[in-house]
């Protein structure tokens, strides 16, 4: 294999960009799952965020408005999920899968006529001379604001879950909803709030794909990123900083295989393209082997609906 053509500076810089969508979506899903809800519709909410963000940005000419539009669209779609599961008590797994299928179809419909358009560009944050430092200038100071925002959000979620009362209540609801209810917490409302936050984060991640990472609109643009985000939450054992590591790891493998392809590696393209997914499966198997849920640190009430009848 030939590594000669791969520049490590560019590799690291571009893996940070590649990781943003899955990091945002995984971080949102982490909060959702911490509250005891399993929303498998991440892929659907991401792609709805991608098209909504794209359309908003194209029409307003502002990428910031585009990101906001993506987040709102993701949140709205998650609201459908929250209403179905929290108030009509539908099965969370089936509803989440349906949400993904619905999101994929709806985005395809809404995206008619937007193919081939270029969205307004999101520029790197001007750090002035700092950006000219060799290696660090490119890796640390050469990104658009969403890259920094995503890291800040990891820190924020970590702090809220660890140190605030809101975080404690969210964890309590995900751990034992019966007990939380008997202490007087509104289980379904707290879960609704978390689900909507997760939807907004997934939408934001989707918008980043169509506005920065690609940037244009094609059908199925998220290409399974939502599923990877779900896997990263498990990989991270429901811990925010590990989400960051997981996302960078996956982003790194994605970028590396692209670089290997470009460098003319003799491994067939198909194997390289599937490698990130294979490695994700492998990591999940290793993480889950031989230990129960407690070892994995999963919220005890994950995926169980709550109804205050008893």
């Amino acid at each position: 294999m030939d590594f000669g053509a791969i520049n490590p500076t560019i590799l690291i810089a571009s893996l940070m960009v590649a990781a943003v969508p899955i990091m945002l979506a995984a971080l949102g899903e982490l909060v959702v799952e911490k509250s005891g809800v399993l929303n498998l519709g991440v892929e659907g909410m991401m792609i709805i965020g991608a098209i909504a963000g794209f359309v908003t940005a194209v029409h307003t000419g502002s990428p910031v408005a585009g990101f906001a539009g993506g987040a709102v669209a993701g949140a709205l779609l998650s609201l459908v999920f929250a209403f179905l599961t929290q108030f009509l008590l539908t099965n969370q797994v089936a509803t989440g899968l349906a949400l993904t299928l619905f999101g994929l179809g709806l985005s395809s419909l809404a995206g008619q006529g937007y193919n081939g358009i270029k969205p307004p560009a999101t520029h790197a944050v001007p750090f002035g001379p700092l950006a000219d430092i060799p290696f660090f200038g490119r890796v640390v100071f050469g990104h658009d604001w969403m890259v920094y925002a995503s890291i800040a959000l990891v820190a924020l979620v970590w702090w809220v879950l660890r140190a605030t009362r809101l975080g404690l209540v969210i964890r309590a609801v995900g751990e034992n909803h019966e007990a939380a209810h008997s202490l007087g917490y509104k289980v379904n409302r707290i879960r609704l709030g978390c689900t909507v936050f997760g939807g907004a984060m997934a939408g934001l991640g989707g918008a980043y794909v169509s506005l920065v990472r690609v940037p244009q609109w094609t059908d199925g643009i998220t290409a399974g990123a939502g599923w990877i985000a779900l896997a990263i939450v498990v990989f991270a054992s429901w811990k925010p900083w590990r989400v960051l590591i997981g996302a960078y790891l996956f982003g790194g493998i994605t970028v590396l295989q692209l670089n290997l392809q470009a460098a003319g590696s003799r491994i067939p393209v198909e194997y390289l393209s599937m490698s990130p997914y294979l490695i994700t499966i492998l990591v999940l198997v290793i993480m889950s082997s031989g230990r129960g849920r407690a070892g994995l640190n999963a919220p005890a009430a994950l995926g169980q609906n709550f109804h205050a009848s008893r």
Binding site: L168, E175, N176, S182, G184, P299
Partner: protein, 508 residues
Amino acid sequence: MQDILLSVEGIGKSYPGVRANDDVSFRIGTGEVHALLGENGAGKSTLVKMIYGLVKPDEGRMMLRGQPYAPVEPRAARAAGVAMVFQHFSLFEALNVAENVALGMENPPPMRELAARIRSVSEEYGLPLDPSRMVGDLSAGERQRVEIIRCLLQDPKLLIMDEPTSVLTPQEVGILFRTLRQLSSEGTAILYISHKLEEIRTLCDAATILRRGKVVGSADPRQSTARELAEMMVGAVLTPPERKAAEKGEVVLGVTALNAASPIPFGTSLKEVSFTVARGEVLGIAGVAGNGQDELLLALSGELKSAPDRVRIAGRAAGDLGPAERRRAGLVAAPEDRYGHAAAPDMSLVENAFLTGQIRRNLDRGGFIDWPATRAFADEIIATYDVRTPGNHVAARALSGGNLQKFLIGRELDQSPDVIVINQPTWGVDAAAAAAIRQAILNRAAEGAGVVVISQDLDELLEVSDMFAVLNEGRLTRPRPVKGLTIDEIGLMMGGAHGMEVAHHVEA
């Protein structure tokens, strides 16, 4: 007469098909320890849930310190000075003690300050507790301390305790009572819910007795005998189960140095468990919940396998056999959890009868279910064990706890087994059904089966067992004959009070 703290007047509450409470009235004075006595399903829990703001009454009113009191949610009740310790703990296993306490408070102080307050309050009341420990790692008695301290930190005027002693060792009960008396002398009223009469007679100043949602009387528990209270509670005269003297036969179940890792999160592993059970013998295994009872049942039923020679059924090595093969060898098992483990809740009684009866009652023909035979088996159980049900087609879920338990116990007992293993045979079952179940177990033993009864109800074990042993942190004490055992000896076998006495000695 003391000042009236809380008065309840004409409270009523209906659920679809059930009148949970009907015109309930009683009063609690400041600093009074007031017992609420009644069988399972008498409406005690609904009543206290209304006082705690979890359930809204349909009619009637409550007065707290002379003011109208109608809490819309537990938060309002707590603000008014009412706190509650739940029967099934409202704790979070994956959170630590301080976090659990903080969740039950309106305005918790910062964590460091809260931890210091937990330490000081827990020492003041003789209930030592480390705020940084994970609740999942605590014993049942320690978990209850968390609940109590959570309440005490809010300086309650009325403390509601729902069946607090069902999971405690006798020594722990003694310490709890000391704490409650101390609280009472400081002016905190306690509403104490239980169906254990001796406890109420030693602790309480007054008692209100409920039956089928109605107040059927009040009594001064110190002046009444346990029998009088029981008959008011049950509304009938109870006869204790009779036992025929059975010949002890050869050993049918032998367990030698059985070790098993727990498959349950936060569970307890079994360590070097050894015992034997002979034909006609009932071995009672006591212990506070979470000391390996569930694991022992799994290891005996075959859901948890071990080396072949660790478990022997009628002399044959069976440690590596699964549940179906052990049934074939003559061992039947009834686990504690009725909905989900012992029964498939959404399947009919006939289908549930088939699920474990298939092997020993030959209910299948070449892979097909023999429905007539299965129906006959279900009907036989329903008739023999007096299961109250509209028919054998109803879903298991639709039966009340006591009726379903009678059905499930009957299903195992009617398979002419050599060995019977039962975990918590009468948990959540009313007194009449419990007596019937105990009698049925004794009858099978008299017919020559070896029986293992795992239970947290000491009175029950002393009533049915010939031999008595205690599970403590996964270890089983040497079985001893029930005859001649004192309650103090049993308490010591149960591991005393997990270091609680120390604190009280220091205080004294």
